[in-house]
């Protein structure tokens, strides 16, 4: 038994609820027999992976839904073992090279070559090529992307690659130029309404529109999140009675608390308090960049108009440094101190020029 997210995931391009033009285009591409490499990009929860699997189904038929999931072990140059999970059917293979961390290059090189060098064996297959899906392509290292370039051209006859990424900015230009770019935009709130209503209908209950609206407002265009929230809500209060609160993820609530702490008081003791909270968040494996972003957005929401650009400016700067550095907590705290300082200066109307 699966969650609603999976239970009501459309299986074919025809079932898709929104972006009809995109679906039509994918359909004609699949029918043409001249299928290119593709790059699906768009925000999280917009339906990229759903569209990819629908496209595959269109290409190969239901055979792609017979999946096998296993682990492959690769050896890094330093003889370390890297375990990568592989999802595959007879016609395609799905990998997430970022699981191998810095050694994603090894995975790309070995696995892709291995697949690319053999032809499709199944005589009944509709297409002569196999498909490789690379998830989280935007976290591929430069080396891995470079390793991908040549393979994409050389083995075109045997293999197509579908990349899936949140944004194209971290992909190198040669890769982008070899792919057909497919942007999957986040659904509008009407489209999301439609999807939620569809689920409610299938589940045979009535969804009050105001609740649906609340869920959608909260999800920020992330349909997966919306459906998860929806199911959680249904699970927690099966008849939608009483006062319903849309559950925010706990880390987000916690980040907001941190932001409030920063604004309330600016003192060394508060710096220590905030630090403890950051440690708590980091130990829950929340990515530090997400922490910084969430806290910064909340802080910006609650301060004077004049301070907003400055705070965001420093958040951006410290995020870059954080990505380069090792000790995330230094950068988080440095930003907090900066914000406190800016806020204090503004509040007491002290000339800041002297301190720069």
């Amino acid at each position: 038994m699966s969650l609603w997210v999976d239970q009501f995931r459309p299986k074919t391009l025809d079932d898709l609820h929104y972006h009809e033009s995109l679906s039509a285009r994918l359909k004609s591409l699949a029918a043409s027999g001249d299928f290119p490499h593709m790059l699906f990009y768009g925000p999280s929860g917009a339906g990229k992976k759903t569209r990819i699997s629908c496209t595959l189904r269109q290409l190969f038929g239901t055979g792609v839904e017979k999946l096998k999931i296993d682990q492959r072990v690769f050896l890094s140059p330093s003889k370390r073992k890297l375990e990568v999970n592989i999802v595959q059917s007879n016609f395609h293979i799905e990998i997430t090279p970022s699981e191998a961390g810095n050694f994603d290059r090894v995975v790309i090189q070995e696995l892709l070559k291995e697949i690319a060098q053999t032809q499709q064996v199944d005589l009944n297959a509709k297409q002569r090529f196999k498909v490789v899906i690379i998830n989280e392509a935007d976290s591929l290292s430069r080396d891995a992307q470079a390793a991908l370039r040549r393979t994409m051209e050389k083995y075109m006859s045997n293999m197509r690659i579908i990349l899936c990424a949140n944004s194209t900015s971290r992909l190198i230009a040669p890769i982008k130029s070899r792919c057909l770019l497919m942007r999957v935009a986040a659904p509008t709130s009407d489209e999301m309404h439609q999807v939620l209503a569809h689920i409610a209908k299938k589940k045979k209950f009535d969804l009050p529109p105001e609740i649906a609206q609340e869920i959608i407002d909260d999800s920020g265009g992330n349909l997966r999140k919306a459906i998860l929230v929806f199911e959680a809500l249904k699970m927690q209060s099966p008849d939608f009675s009483g006062s319903l609160t849309i559950a925010k993820p706990d880390w987000e609530t916690y980040c907001h608390k941190v932001a409030d702490l920063i604004i309330q008081e600016q003192s060394p003791a508060r710096v220590m308090e905030v630090r403890a909270k950051f440690y708590e968040l980091l130990s829950h494996c929340i990515p530090p960049t997400v922490i910084l972003k969430t806290v910064a957005e909340r802080v910006v929401d609650r301060v004077d108009e004049a301070l907003k650009p400055d705070i965001m400016h420093w958040a951006a700067i410290y995020e870059v440094r954080m990505r380069q550095g090792n000790k995330k907590i230094y950068h988080l705290e440095a930003w907090v101190v900066k914000v406190m300082s800016i806020y204090k200066h503004f509040f007491y109307d002290i000339d800041m020029g002297a301190f720069d």
């Binding site: 038994m1 699966s2 969650l3 999976d6 239970q7 999280s44 992976k49 239901t62 017979k66 999946l67 999931i69 999970n85 999802v87 595959q88 007879n90 016609f91 293979i93 799905e94 997430t96 697949i115 053999t118 064996v121 199944d122 009944n124 989280e136 992330n222 997966r224 999140k225 998860l228 199911e231 699970m235 209060s237 099966p238 559950a247 993820p249 706990d250 916690y254 600016q266 710096v271 708590e280 980091l282 130990s283 829950h284 494996c285 990515p287 997400v290 410290y318 440094r321 380069q324 550095g325 090792n326 000790k327 907590i329 950068h331 440095a334 406190m340 300082s341 204090k344 002290i350 301190f355």
Partner: protein, 866 residues
């Protein structure tokens, strides 16, 4: 007469013979003498131990006691080295004069004798001669005094006892502590007085060991003036006493001596009544302190004092777990070293350099700790296995510099820790002065105290420096001293001390000690960066600075200093990250400079002392634990997706898992269920329950019954994914706390469903193999139907996937199954089994996996291999 006989037996004492036969002595004096080990300091110990070997030496032992007349009291060594004849003549002289004040009944303490009537000690001499002679022949002896009384001499038997290591040397030791310090002091002062009265050729008796040796320049002063006796130890009395007290706690175990009359001491909380060997609770002693204070020397002296043979393992030996098994254990089990009658005591020097402090179970420290809690296994009746571990029956002393060293973390909880501190400067100066005088080096106190200051109490360093100066000139002045000690300034440093220096200016005293001027003092960059560099781990310093700076009291209204400090820290992090990721270790040289600016920003006199900050480390540990939980959760997701044709696989992505899935799955699995009997659950609730159970089973989440600390039974979620909604130890408020009864209900359902699922797996495998033989088109058709199956339409006759069954049945009214869910899986599995038997009985399948990629895998019939 017995005595006469005994003397003849002991042929060495010819000259004494007439005297002793003339004067028959009560032997008790002798016995007192021995038992009272501290008489004249440890010398007695040494002497007695010598005495056991040959009676001749024993004479010397005794003779030092009365040596008031013409021998310097302290120079026992001299006597030991062959004043045989003189001592014997002395003794014989005194036999005639001394009389016999302590006759049979009245056995005075020898120490008293020493103080009050020095002249009366003669009897003891003769006595010991006398008894020695007996000892030579027989272990328990009888003597007759000149008035015809028969006396049994206990002392001899004790000495005999010592020989087989379970003797009574412990008793002697026990008495050692019984002598109050003032009495010892009295003795010492008496000795000094005697020395003053008879200024001998060598007027500096404190370092008496060196006195006897001709001052050859090929020995280091450090060795020459090393203390050999307990009383010569310099510095902290408390430490020394604490240590010997610990060693004494082993007496019962090692020497078989009863605690007996001893009053219960305050420090006996370490005494472990459960231990059948009466060993102290902490079986290791960890001695720590900066170098050069004499830790090793003290351990040796005390071990010797307590009657042990020392076995030392130090950094020059290989130190692996192997060594413990190969060397230490045999030594400990044998009880005594080869060729020695004394029990062995192991000193492990410089243990902080040993391996295996961490998790490494093959390490030295780990093995050592194991050694302490090895229990004897075999019962008396049983035959003991050769491999059986025997308990630790001998004391082990570990010595280290840094008590907090990482490698010792395991050891610390099992060891009694004694911290060695620097003795007062004045004592060191005094000792140094004595040495200088003896070596003919002119030194004024001022110069010496400068030296001690620069060396921070490192006595060894001081002695070396003095010897070095001596090699050049015969005079020590402050200027020479400054020149000579230029290199000693940054002798030792630890993370904590460097951090303290970072946040506090140098003390006035230290500045003076180093003889720096105003200008030099204000220069900090070179000094601090050198210190940081010498630690060779700038990132720990950075972490320490990061942890500490907000604790400082200094007011910083504008946060400008905080900003600057953080700027430096982030720069430091960028540098070190670049260094490690690009392997560009040229940057290492700059790292220490990036931390130094904390000094001008935050230095503060008398600020809070820096403590080791654990926050970062704890965070690291916690993160690792949580990562493991995520791993097991994503493992569960993958399993689920392989069973449910890829249903959950899109949720495995790292960010989705942590940011979206983890918070919401916790809400999804905590519906508001009432804790009622499963038979009376309402239909809506039943539906909810079955949904919950299905999800939890799919994700391999379980409720595990456990006992809480207070003995209450609780159900714990496993894997504990509820930590992801628990921040600051509090659950999210919108998640209902599931009660025990509810969890109990759910757990039972989950167990039932799991059994059903296992049946499914069998069935599904069967189905999977079936597919191998069917045509692709058929297969896809079947999958089509299977995937179209929704839990809503339960009437799907063609479905060969009994996986659906639990859901479907759960949706039906409970009457069908009499409300017993447990019957459901069994029903479905038997049904499945029945179907299996009917349809696929004749099929023999062989699964041949060729290669790993789907591209080259194809179904092959068994016939192909035949």
């Amino acid at each position: 007469m017995a005595t006469t006989e005994s003397f003849t037996a002991n042929g060495l004492l010819g000259s004494l013979l007439p005297a002793s036969s003339k004067v028959l002595l009560p032997p008790t004096g002798g016995s007192e003498f021995a038992s009272n080990g501290l008489l004249g300091g440890p010398s007695a110990m040494i002497d007695v131990s010598c005495g056991r070997k040959s009676p001749t030496l024993d004479i010397q032992t005794v003779s030092h006691g009365p040596g008031v007349d013409d021998m310097p009291v302290d120079d026992e060594r001299d006597r030991l080295e062959g004043h045989d004849s003189s001592s014997s003549t002395n003794a014989s002289d005194r036999f005639t004069t001394g009389g016999l004040p302590s006759e049979s009944q009245d056995f005075p303490e020898v120490s008293e004798l020493f103080r009050q009537h020095p002249s009366k000690k003669v009897p003891s001499v003769a006595d010991s001669l006398h008894s020695d002679a007996h000892f030579h022949r027989t272990s328990s002896l009888r003597a007759t005094t000149f008035d015809g009384k028969t006396i049994y001499m206990k002392r001899k038997t004790r000495i005999e006892g010592l020989r087989n290591t379970s003797g009574t040397s412990g008793h002697r030791m026990g008495n050692l502590l019984d002598i109050p310090i003032h009495r010892l002091m009295d003795e010492l002062s008496a000795a000094t007085a005697a020395k003053l009265a008879h200024p001998g050729p060598q007027p500096q008796p404190v370092t008496s060991t060196g006195a006897s040796l001709p001052p050859t320049e090929d020995t280091l002063w450090v060795d020459r003036y090393r203390p050999h006796r307990f009383t010569e130890l310099l510095g902290n009395d408390r430490v020394a006493r604490e240590m010997i007290a610990w060693v004494k706690q082993w007496d019962f175990c090692v020497f078989g001596k009863k605690k007996g009359k001893k009053r219960p001491r305050d420090d006996d909380e370490n005494y472990n009544p459960d231990d059948e060997y009466h060993r102290p609770r902490e079986k290791l002693l960890l001695l720590s302190g900066p170098p050069g204070l004499g830790k090793t020397t003290m351990a040796h002296v005390i071990a010797q004092q307590a009657g042990y043979e020392v076995m030392e393992i130090n950094a020059s030996d290989a130190r692996s777990a192997q060594v413990i098994d190969d060397r230490i254990r045999p030594a400990l089990e044998a009880g005594s070293a080869v060729g020695s009658s004394k029990p062995v005591l192991v000193i492990i020097d410089e243990i902080d350099g040993a391996t295996g402090g961490g998790d490494n179970s093959s390490g030295f420290v780990h093995r050592l700790v194991q050694l302490t809690y090895d229990k004897p296994k075999g019962r008396p009746g049983q035959k003991r296995d050769q491999k059986d571990k025997r308990p630790l029956l001998r004391p082990i002393i570990c010595i280290c510099n840094d008590q907090n060293a990482h490698s010792l973390s395991k050891l610390r909880q099992y060891a009694r820790q004694i911290r060695f501190t620097r003795p007062a400067d004045i004592h060191i100066v005094k000792r140094l002065k004595e040495v200088c005088e003896k070596e003919g080096l002119k030194a004024d106190s001022r110069a010496l105290s400068t030296l001690v200051g620069v060396a921070r109490g490192d006595l060894r360093g001081c002695l070396n420096a003095l010897q070095f100066i001596k090699a050049r000139s015969g005079e020590v002045t402050e200027t020479i001293m400054r020149a000579a000690t230029a290199g000693m300034k940054e002798a030792d440093s630890s993370t904590i001390s460097v951090l303290n220096n970072m946040f506090a200016p140098m003390t006035r005293k230290r500045v003076k000690e180093l003889g720096m001027g105003e200008e030099e003092e204000s220069k900090y960059v070179g000094r601090l960066s050198r210190e940081i560099e010498s630690l060779n781990n700038p990132s720990t310093i950075a972490a320490g600075c990061f942890a500490h700076y907000p604790n400082l009291r200094q007011h910083d209204a504008t946060f400008s200093r905080y900003e600057k400090a953080n700027e430096w820290l982030t720069t430091f992090d960028s540098f070190s990250a670049t260094m490690y990721s690009d392997g560009d270790f040229g940057l290492h040289a700059y790292l220490s400079y990036l931390v130094v600016p904390f000094y001008p920003l935050f230095q503060e006199r008398g600020g809070q002392r820096i403590e080791r900050d654990q926050a970062d480390w704890e965070n690291f540990q916690l993160t690792k634990t949580n990562e493991e939980i995520y791993k097991s959760l994503s493992h569960g997701l993958r399993h689920a997706s392989s069973r449910l044709s890829g249903a959950y696989r899109h949720l495995v992505g790292s960010q989705i898992l942590t940011l979206e899935f983890a918070p919401y799955i916790n809400r999804i699995i905590s519906p508001p269920l009432r804790p009622v009997n499963s038979q009376v659950v309402r239909p809506e609730e039943r539906e909810l329950l079955s949904q919950l159970v299905n999800i939890m089973v799919a994700l391999e989440l379980r409720f595990v019954q456990e006992k809480a600390e207070d003995g209450q039974l609780i159900y714990r979620l496993d894997p504990p994914i509820d930590v992801f909604v628990t921040y600051d130890g509090k659950r999210a408020s919108d998640i209902a706390i599931s009660r025990y009864a509810v969890r109990h209900l759910v757990a039972a359902e989950i167990d039932a469903a799991t059994i059903a699922r296992q049946a499914d797996v069998v069935e599904k495998n069967q189905g999977g193999k079936l597919d191998m033989f069917s045509k692709t088109s058929k297969m896809s058709a079947k999958y089509d139907s299977a995937t179209k199956t929704k839990p809503g339409n339960s009437s799907e006759p063609a479905s060969k996937r009994p996986r659906k069954d639990p859901t479907d049945i759960a949706d039906k009214p409970p009457v069908d199954f009499f409300g017993r869910l447990i019957t459901v899986p069994s029903a479905s599995s038997t049904k499945a089994a029945a179907r299996k038997n009917v349809e696929k009985k004749y099929r023999v399948t062989y699964r041949y996996t060729e290669g790993t990629s789907a591209a080259v895998r194809k179904p092959v019939k068994v016939g192909a291999f035949m």
